[in-house]
Symmetry: D2
Subunit: 331 residues, 4 copies
């Protein structure tokens, strides 16, 4: 029996975690991709809880970086970056509910080399940027095109990295704001957190009617922090199952795997993102796992785990997690 | 002769800084106030460069906090906070231009006590918040209603603060984003910077056709940092003159007074806001005042001034300035 | 054959990683423990490279918190906290060299319950502190005394955490400064990084003649970030082997295990600690593993790992690492 | 009558603010200058409260940068930077007391050009540094030697800045630590805050017997933030009057002028320094000026002032102040 049969999605979802109708979003049916998370775009799809949706995602550059001699800053046109599929309207989703998104598969698509990473002028974790605004000269731009298959990401003759794909950007619409898909925040967005990978279930707060799920920006591999700002970006077919949990009001995204529970925070400076993630995790343990707050605080001090997602986006993203074996049974 | 006759607005504006047609935005003509800075709302007004506009602004709470026994967190309904007048469409404004906004007058309106300050649960510079997420218990909420006239803000029998009004939130629309009016950023917004006061000219980047100017959130008095997060908020009649500078592409807002030039940055952590402001000021001195970059850097080290606007909003705002007597003549 | 036979310590150490003379530091021979890392205390021991040293470490509270009814803030007496064994003078160590410290074993000592964790007033990752100075009331203090053996840390009837001990505080003396043992910095100190555990080799810069190694503050278990500020503190017998690498000038501590290479940074805000760690790792890969800087930067973007040590000390500590299988052979 | 006759120093000092015996510290009598604030150096002077002390201070480079063709990074030898006069032992000073230091005069000394500013490799507010560790190339170094007299700092043919001297580095010894004179912290140190100028009284916590006052690093002029990290450094004769306030236990330095009360905080990130300063100011207003905490918090929101000292040192320094006319009479 799959662990997902005991997941929160299965226990509390409107569709009880059961797969429903299948849908697909192709490049053609998507038409125009989106560069903001907001309520002002018409849904590309209306689904019922349980729906299984396969989406043809673009890479973060909409496929425009095609050669190692390309200069990203000449090609990219802010704010038209990080194209997103969606929005997907989930029937019955209302402010105060949560969407559950089970990531069933991610597969590369398109001609090889289908992976791209690069250094972009004034962008990245170890360079001066528009936000950390310094007088130093920018580094030269550099593009790497990479052969990516399910068997791995070929870096060079010696190094092949495992293919460990995840969804870099996924979330729901804010209620009245429309925020760049480059930003991560309370509704999800550009979190660039490798835990949002195949097999995991991410839970997202619903802020607007129908939830309005967006996703895109899948990564074939990424280290902690997404150091230079560009993971192994690649176009994919990504398949998710979407369920709806009524009345589960989340302040920030949460994530469940077979073995752990995670809360995700995004903020600057980085310590604020960790604080958000750990405070949410404590609140969750208190609300649903029977802990007293001070005991959860002391216990996570000894066994909490932190994953750095990105240290490059407008807000940094980290996840704080606890093993289910330690959290115990939900009540 | 007024200094404004030699201002950048006068020298480079389409209307040459000359006052044009008068307009007014009343509560009635505004109708619904706005809670985001974005391009998705229809303009309340279309004007030509030089237009003089008087707007009936609401206070940041839309007048809903009426008594010292009110509990802000029970009354306020995020994200419907910080109501803005506008958007105002300026004829001819295109991406890459700048709006010049000369603040001509700000006057309190409405029945006394028309001023409000308060402590709001999990909001402010010296408390745990949603972003600096801690386990400490929130402080009790507290409301002060204050008598505010042109003669001062009456704090108590002993203390009356001078009436030094400014526009807390002013800016243009982003190109495709719609951002909460609680946020300051490159387009202006909720900067809460006291220098944006009567007599000053603020220059704002145009990102969307017509510029789409919003403003509101006037403060009768405010200290550096807006410590608890709520200045002396009050409804006003605010009168500005709007001009348009073609082809002046600003990365961040700038401000001019009779004696100084200022660049304004908004970011977290706070040092990043100062870096933005000072780097922009150096770039300005290099581009238009004949300085070499290293000389401007060394000189501002000896004579630059920094004003802390807010240390409470989603991004902190600071301005870095230099005296015109030091910057010299623009070239 | 043990991996350590191919370690950097073995390849470059004066003693070639071979174990030398055995020494022990007992509570009696240590006499007064130390609360600063500095060159002003007389060495408790002079050793040759290769020396094996067993030290009776105190817990971070010098054993003064003995009951769950104790109030830490009444017992603890800043700056006399976090008592350290040492300093140990390593023959031949000069500024510009590195000490290699192989952690051979850590075992609990003393009567049960020998483990202590607690919430301390205005200290910790999720509370207002002296540095993040807020007006919120402090949380109540709380002490947990824990049964700790090699078999585990008994949290309660349901939860026993594995015994995963490491050295919380270890480092060399600065050249002329004497810094509180509560602080982590370029010389090591209070890093609270779980990777500094049994089996690992930590490399520390030598700043003062003899290196002047200090260590203490062993933890029986700790989560990422040491959330409340107090891990499972316990007194131990800790055994290390110390070697000396001449002319290896480190800006920050480095760590080696069988499978990975790590650089450690300590700073506030947290992003600066990650930047330090990753930049050092890139510099290491360039200097000794044949990478071009931009290639190391792009590669770590895809496969670097980050471990959060502490988010509670005067500086936060993180380690950035790469697998040896990816870094390749040292040149 | 001078305002100082009503100062806190006059009201509470052991010497009642009355000038006592005159002392001088010449280069010869100082002998070796100091590079750490700590208790391990022998006092250069023992004085009684009320003592007036004239000290020949060096500039921050100990006079070693003598030409505009010098390369600072080749000349400067960390940690032997920022030489300090002292320590001065004040009779009767004990942990828990405060020293009052009234700055009576600062005058340039030595041959012209006696002022120095420069850009130092990997140091400064708008460049990548050892703490904000990036991959960008450093800026070229650059030295300016400046003619400095009481009449001004001659920048170039067009610009002469007013001579507004202050003490860049002043403080007491920690109890057991010895901290680099490049660092500002709770005991004072390298605050680089222009308010510490002629006429002001700074109050410093006593941590070690005799207080052990150090001072040096006088600046002829400095902008807010000390942007490039090097103000107009110059050697001086600096004259201060030192008094002792028994039982006034300060967590951080405070400052008094004729018109205002200031608290000074030093931390990273910058918002933490402001928080420290404002919280201390609120605590002061509550303890000695009769305010309720929430009223002080709300009032400073409307009238507090913040001065940015440095944004370049290992901790950033800011002062938060309130007018005496608003604070009212001390009780």
């Amino acid at each position: 029996m799959a662990w997902t049969e005991h997941s929160i999605m299965a226990r509390r979802g409107v569709a009880k975690g059961q797969p429903g109708k299948q849908h697909s979003i192709t490049e053609a049916s998507q038409g125009r991709y989106h560069y903001v998370y907001g309520p002002y775009a018409a849904p590309v799809l209306h689904v019922e809880p349980g729906a299984i949706i396969s989406a043809e995602t673009h890479d973060a550059f909409e496929g425009r970086i095609t050669s190692e001699s390309d200069r990203p800053s000449e090609i990219l046109n802010f704010p038209f970056l990080n194209p997103q599929n969606g929005p997907i309207h989930v029937h019955g989703a209302e402010k105060g509910d949560a969407l559950a998104v089970h990531i069933r598969s991610i597969a590369p698509r398109g001609p090889q080399p289908c992976g791209t990473t690069c250094m972009i002028r004034e962008f990245g974790g170890l360079v001066a940027t528009g936000a950390t605004a310094l007088l130093n000269q920018p580094l030269p731009e550099k593009v790497r095109k990479l052969h990516v298959t399910q068997d791995g990401v070929r870096w060079n003759d010696r190094i092949t990295l495992p293919y460990q794909p995840f969804i870099g950007t996924i979330g729901t619409s804010p209620e009245i704001e429309a925020i760049s898909s480059l930003v991560p925040d309370y509704y999800g967005g550009n979190m660039d957190l490798p835990d949002v990978g195949v097999g995991a279930i991410i839970y997202l707060p619903v802020n607007a009617p129908g939830g309005l799920l967006y996703l895109g920006d899948c990564h074939a591999a990424q280290g902690d922090g997404e150091l230079c700002g560009v993971a192994v970006e690649h176009p994919t077919v990504t398949t998710v199952q979407v369920d709806l949990i009524k009345g589960w009001t989340l302040a920030w995204p949460r994530l469940e795997t077979e073995t752990m529970l995670m809360c995700i925070g995004s903020a600057r400076p980085m310590e604020d993102a960790v604080r958000i993630a750990y405070r949410e995790l404590i609140r969750w343990m208190v609300a649903e796992y029977g802990f007293e707050e001070s005991d959860a605080y002391l216990l996570l001090t000894q066994c909490g785990r932190v994953r750095l997602g990105n240290m490059v986006d407008p807000k940094y993203t980290l996840g704080a997690s606890v093993l289910k074996s330690i959290a115990g049974e939900a009540r």
